[in-house]
């Protein structure tokens, strides 16, 4: 689903991703781990078509810079830090509905299942929500689209333990033919969720191993 061959990305003279070659396939749930500055977020941004790069990167057979919109129709994304969006919650929901052709109810029912009664905050600007509320809404917006590729950059950082548990349940049961890449510092927390671990260190893949998922209960 994602083919990466000799991918390099540098900012000025600092090379953040170094000649990376790796494939990510449909059905895989990947933990992308590594310390700060390892290149995880840069890799995610390359996949989202937000960075220029050297080398070859192909997503569902398409180039993420040249066919960005076609690719992004199939990608759900949760950023590391919720952006300070000035739009209201309702505007944000409608924005997603219009761009992704997903019924609004899909998003709303997902927020409910994450413990967020979004109707109570529907006219509030997004940036005025609490950190946990923002994160739950962003997760609902990413999952509600039922994307083929799910990119989650530290999605549980602002969640309380209960919401974290519910999120992991959702991810566990997410469509089986999708590719999920979960960037996280907390390997312990996500080890039951993933079937492959990719550890990055200073822009290269230090560890890449398939793991047998320990199912809960």
């Amino acid at each position: 689903m994602i083919k990466i061959n000799s991918l390099s990305k540098a900012f000025k003279k600092q090379e953040v991703i170094k000649n990376l070659t790796i494939d990510f396939n449909a059905g895989e749930k990947i933990a992308l781990i590594g310390q700060n500055g390892a290149g995880k977020t840069t890799l995610i941004r390359c996949i989202l078509g937000q960075y220029n790069y050297e080398g070859h990167l192909e997503i569902m057979g398409m180039n993420p810079r040249k066919e960005r919109r076609n690719i992004l129709q199939n990608v759900g994304f949760v950023p590391q830090t919720p952006p300070p969006l000035k739009m209201t919650v309702d505007e944000l929901l409608n924005f997603f509905v219009n761009l992704t052709n997903t019924p609004k109810e899909e998003f709303i029912s997902l927020t409910h299942s994450l413990g967020l009664i979004i109707e109570e905050n529907i006219n509030k600007p997004f940036f005025k929500l609490s950190g946990g509320m923002k994160q739950k809404l962003l997760i609902a917006l990413a999952l509600g689209r039922q994307p083929k590729i799910l990119l989650l950059d530290e999605p549980s950082a602002n969640l309380d333990p209960q919401a974290r548990e519910i999120l992991f349940d959702h991810l566990q049961n997410f469509r089986k033919d999708s590719l999920m890449i979960l960037s996280s510092h907390r390997m312990n927390e996500i080890k039951t969720l993933v079937n492959r671990v990719v550890e990055m260190d200073l822009g290269i893949v230090a560890v890449d191993k398939t793991v047998i998922t320990e199912t809960k209960n």
Partner: protein, 276 residues
């Protein structure tokens, strides 16, 4: 496929309508027209300007002072600000094209800046009609066009700076320096330069015609000052060389082209660079 232009446009307009800045700005221009009526400015006369024409000329002089810097400062942060705050990373993780995003923002800013000043001008003419003051419709049409052209021009420049700047501080400083430079190259400074150094008139005309602020100022007065008494040196030379109607067409077309060229280059850079 939907480029996201309409969605970004609608979203940005709604956000602007909620901002206090927008309402303060609208109130300044609407209030200005109301105050001028209340003070009886339409009944006074200065250098041939009387009635609603007097009010409109004064209104346009105020626009020349406020609008360019307002457009520059309020818009120059839009791209670089979204980039710095990670709003862009999120919005552009959706199927929105870079071009749709850029021109959606551009168009929404144009609408929210132009509509209040246009409505103030329209309100003045309607009030003139109701109170039986002669309405100079030709002037109304010219000034509506000139305002649109000037706003479009400065928006293009502003979005250009915003897409190239690496930080909001740099963007705002660049916009301010540019504005100072354009103000410095208005009539007064040119006059001083001319007197002191006996500069070639063609150079004065060239500089005056390149400066969108000077073009706007000259065009605002062009129908009213046949003897060129209130104009500065650059305007005098320009209108001595070019016919009035040719200049009016130029004053509307040139800023629009300038704004479009800057917008186009800004968008091209935005499309080709790292967006976060």
């Amino acid at each position: 496929m939907n480029s996201g232009f309409k969605e970004i446009l609608a979203l940005d307009i709604r956000q602007n309508l909620r901002s206090k800045w927008f309402w303060a700005y609208s109130l300044v221009f609407g209030g200005f027209v109301a105050v001028m009526f209340a003070m009886g400015i339409t009944e006074s006369q200065i250098i041939g300007f009387v009635g609603l024409s007097r009010l409109m000329v004064t209104f346009m002089q105020v626009c020349m002072v406020i609008l360019p810097i307002y457009v520059l400062i309020s818009t120059v942060r839009s791209v670089v600000g979204d980039r710095e705050s990670n709003v862009m990373e999120y919005i552009l993780s959706l199927p929105v094209s870079f071009t749709g995003y850029f021109w959606g923002k551009f168009t929404s800013k144009f609408i929210v800046v132009y509509v209040p000043v246009f409505l103030a001008l329209l309100g003045a003419t309607l009030w003139g009609t109701i109170t039986n003051i002669d309405v100079p419709w030709d002037l109304f049409a010219l000034y509506s066009g000139l305002l649109a052209a000037m706003i479009f021009c400065f928006l293009g420049i502003s979005m250009f700076i915003s897409s190239y700047a690496h930080s909001q501080d740099l963007a705002v400083s660049s916009a301010f320096v540019l504005w100072l430079l354009l103000v410095a190259f208005l009539d007064l400074i040119l006059m001083g330069v001319m007197l002191k150094f006996r500069v070639n008139p063609e150079l004065i005309i060239g500089l005056g015609m390149l400066n969108p602020l000077q073009v706007f100022r000259t065009a605002v007065l062009v129908l009213f000052d046949p003897k060129l008494t209130v104009m500065g040196a650059a305007s005098y030379y320009i209108l001595d060389t070019v016919s009035r109607w040719a200049f009016i067409i130029f004053a509307i077309v040139y800023p629009v082209i300038l704004g479009f060229v800057f917008g186009f280059i800004g968008n091209r850079h935005f499309n080709k660079s790292d967006i976060v």
